[in-house]
């Protein structure tokens, strides 16, 4: 099943990078001369994950320009060879195979979403390539010792993150005593939902209703009726994309609004802007506020992102954890290459394991199980149609507090 998109399949960003430098005053230096270092990767430019690829592609373009604006990789310019895996793991597998054996790229970057990452990781392992990814929500699946996570899920987010949420819930008055856990059967959402139920019950929060729905579920009417009937104090939703909007709308059609609700991986724009989205919680790793904006390079990347995303007609042109993950992937690779002073995969991996890398997510280590460092998953809340980090308190934007719904 070919989607016949020859022009899209292969795109190098060197040309775009050079053009970008004329336009963007932040990048002052020309790309270093010399034969480009080619970094290959795929994104789901088409298919059901395509809306995420648009975000990652912009973030990657910005980072390639940034890196070329500094010193490239060891004084050579870099070129991102991007292919479209069509949201299919088998396509991702063969494309990584092609990138490594046919295109003979120097380095690779991971794709988006657990299934394509697992496919790419298998290929990387076979050829001894280092692979960095930012969106594998189930860390224990990352068993390859040269695979590195760019996003600080921590080694066991199904245990650590539910407790972050329970901590935040405990500060509400009155504190919720029961929660409905509703989740997509998408593996990374289901994984977190099971953890949420276990941890909640451990801490005395009852889970009277635990529901799983198939990814791509079309009608939430019956599910909403069950959630309403359970009428718990808190609603935890393991949602992807627009499912949260659909669930909240279905609930509103039944004239029911959960007092507080948490949404795992929603489409941030539509949920923030929806009338149903006010004060809902979600997971994040950073938002374009302090203290995150003070991290090195973050302000510039956020500005570029807004500019490009607006130009690309994306409805939510604000940098968030999605785009930041891709930025971190490139920051890690850049620091790994520079630190190891080598383009050799083994040396880069060895250096990363021994050192601390600074990314948009802050200082990052890879010394724990599955190459993960400490978890840093946060809670954000929609306040006045904008996402604000509200928990933990020390990372909340100045003057922002968790509001009880």
């Amino acid at each position: 099943m070919s989607k016949g998109m020859g022009a899209w399949r292969r795109r190098t960003f060197l040309g775009g990078a050079l053009a970008g430098m004329v336009a963007a005053p932040a990048v002052l230096r020309a790309a270093p001369p010399g034969k480009p270092v080619r970094v290959g990767g795929t994104l789901s430019l088409t298919g059901f994950l395509a809306q995420t690829a648009a975000i990652h592609k912009i973030a990657a373009e910005i980072m390639v320009e940034e890196i070329n604006g500094r010193d490239g990789f060891l004084g050579r310019p870099i070129e991102y060879v991007l292919l479209d895996d069509q949201s299919k793991p088998d396509v991702a597998r063969s494309l990584y195979e092609k990138l490594i054996t046919v295109d003979k790229v120097d380095l690779i970057q991971g794709p988006y979403a657990t299934a394509p990452i697992l496919a790419a990781m298998g290929v990387a392992q076979r050829y001894g390539k280092i692979i960095i990814q930012s969106s594998m929500g189930i860390p224990k699946l990352q068993t390859y010792d040269m695979a590195f996570p760019a996003t600080p899920f921590g080694p066991e987010p199904d245990k650590s993150y539910p407790n972050v949420i329970l901590d935040a819930m405990a500060t509400l008055s009155p504190a919720p005593k029961s929660m409905v856990v509703l989740t997509s059967k998408f593996p990374s959402a289901q994984f977190m939902a099971q953890g949420m139920r276990t941890e909640a019950e451990k801490r005395g929060v009852k889970v009277p209703l635990f529901l799983e729905y198939e990814a791509g579920n079309r009608d939430f009417g019956a599910i909403a009726a069950r959630v309403k009937e359970a009428n718990a104090d808190f609603l935890w939703v393991g949602s992807l994309g627009l499912e949260s909007n659909q669930i909240l709308e279905a609930l509103r059609k039944l004239d029911y609004r959960p007092k507080n609700s948490f949404h795992l991986y929603p489409a941030p724009g539509p949920l923030a802007l929806s009338p149903d989205g006010n004060l809902v919680w979600s997971s994040t790793f950073l938002e374009p506020d302090e203290p995150f904006m003070s991290r090195p390079g973050m302000k510039r990347i956020a500005e570029h992102y807004k500019e490009r995303a607006t130009k690309a007609n994306l409805p939510y042109p604000i940098i968030d954890a999605q785009a930041a993950g891709m930025a971190a992937q490139w920051q890690i690779l850049e620091q790994g290459v520079n630190g190891a002073k080598s383009l050799e995969d083994k040396q880069i991996a060895a250096w990363l394991k021994k050192n601390v890398v600074t990314t948009v997510y802050g200082p990052t280590k890879f010394d724990g199980p599955y190459n993960h460092g400490a978890p840093a998953q946060l809670i954000r809340q929609v306040q006045n149609k904008e996402w604000k980090v509200v928990w933990p308190k020390d990372l909340a934007a100045p003057g922002v507090k968790l509001i009880n719904g």
């Binding site: 298919g47 994950l49 809306q51 079309r218 009608d219 009417g221 019956a222 009726a225 009937e229 802007l273």
Partner: protein, 283 residues
């Protein structure tokens, strides 16, 4: 055991959600049953109409009840053009699958180029309105959808039963050569029907824009269930398509309320298999 309120509410939601299946199945069932053309691009056309509704609503602030007056005739013309291709290349049932699949993929790419792959949501102040009847809530938009689908299905059914054109189409569908020998101009009728099918996709698209999520890949999300609905409702039978849609919608919804929501996708195909084996004669 779920409460009566929950079951009743699930039934209402399901039947109303099934109205969308029926509406999407309508055009597909007509072209498959009466022209022997399996139009996979029906869903892509519906989504094109949905995106146009979205665009006209968000960019130009045109109410969907007005934009539908432009979109549906435009879809009719697209249906005619599409049929010109079928006619020109003498496309048969199998080839129609391949050609319309390609057409759907091209439309998907075109939609993604213009509207990006990101989710689009057409927010309206009435999208979540409900009427309360006793203990139950009836969502207004879905109710209107079902009424429109009902009027279209009933009207089409009457048209096929009562008018010369409708009966000639059915005669042609059964045996085009014999019908031609009695003066039925199958070609002209086929154009009309193709246009009509696409126009129905346009109507469905308007409701998709108001009710569902827009993303290019969503074009394929309805495929399986609507195909099941078309077959359960019998090819070329508009009322069958609508009732089958509501049957599937209700079954899915009850399964979600009583068993687990994850059972929903299994339901439509289980119903299909049971009905194919049982083969009740209710046509």
């Amino acid at each position: 055991m779920p409460s009566a309120t929950l079951l009743g509410q699930a039934l209402i939601s399901g039947v109303l959600a099934g109205g969308m299946y029926g509406l999407l199945a309508l055009g597909l069932s007509l072209s498959w049953g009466l022209l022997r053309l399996v139009n996979l691009s029906h869903f892509a056309l519906a989504f094109l109409a949905a995106y146009l509704t979205y665009e006209m609503g968000t960019t130009y602030h045109i109410d969907p009840w007005w934009s539908v007056l432009v979109i549906v005739p435009a879809m009719f013309v697209i249906g005619l053009l599409q049929h010109w291709v079928f006619d020109r290349f003498k496309v048969n049932e199998l080839a129609s699958l391949l050609i319309t699949f390609s057409f759907a993929v091209i439309l998907e790419v075109a939609i993604q180029l213009y509207w990006t792959a990101d989710y689009r949501r057409f927010e309206t102040h009435y999208s979540t309105l409900s009427i309360k009847v006793g203990a139950f809530y009836i969502p207004v938009l879905e109710l209107i959808l079902c009424l429109v689908a009902g009027v279209l299905a009933w009207g089409t059914w009457l048209w096929l039963r009562k008018t010369y054109v409708g009966k000639a189409l059915r005669a042609s569908a059964e045996d085009a050569e014999i019908a031609a020998a009695y003066g039925v101009d199958h070609k002209k009728l086929a154009y009309l029907l193709s246009g009509l099918g696409a126009a129905y996709a346009g109507v469905a698209g308007t409701f998709i824009a108001l009710i569902a999520t827009l993303a290019p890949a969503q074009i394929w999300a309805w495929l399986g269930v609507v195909f099941a609905v078309v077959i359960i409702g019998r090819l070329g039978n508009p009322l069958g398509a609508l009732f089958a849609g509501m049957l599937i919608g209700a079954s899915e919804s009850i399964a979600m309320a009583v068993l687990s929501p994850a059972w929903a996708p299994v339901v439509s195909f289980s119903v299909l298999i049971v009905l194919l084996l049982w083969d009740p004669d209710w046509s």
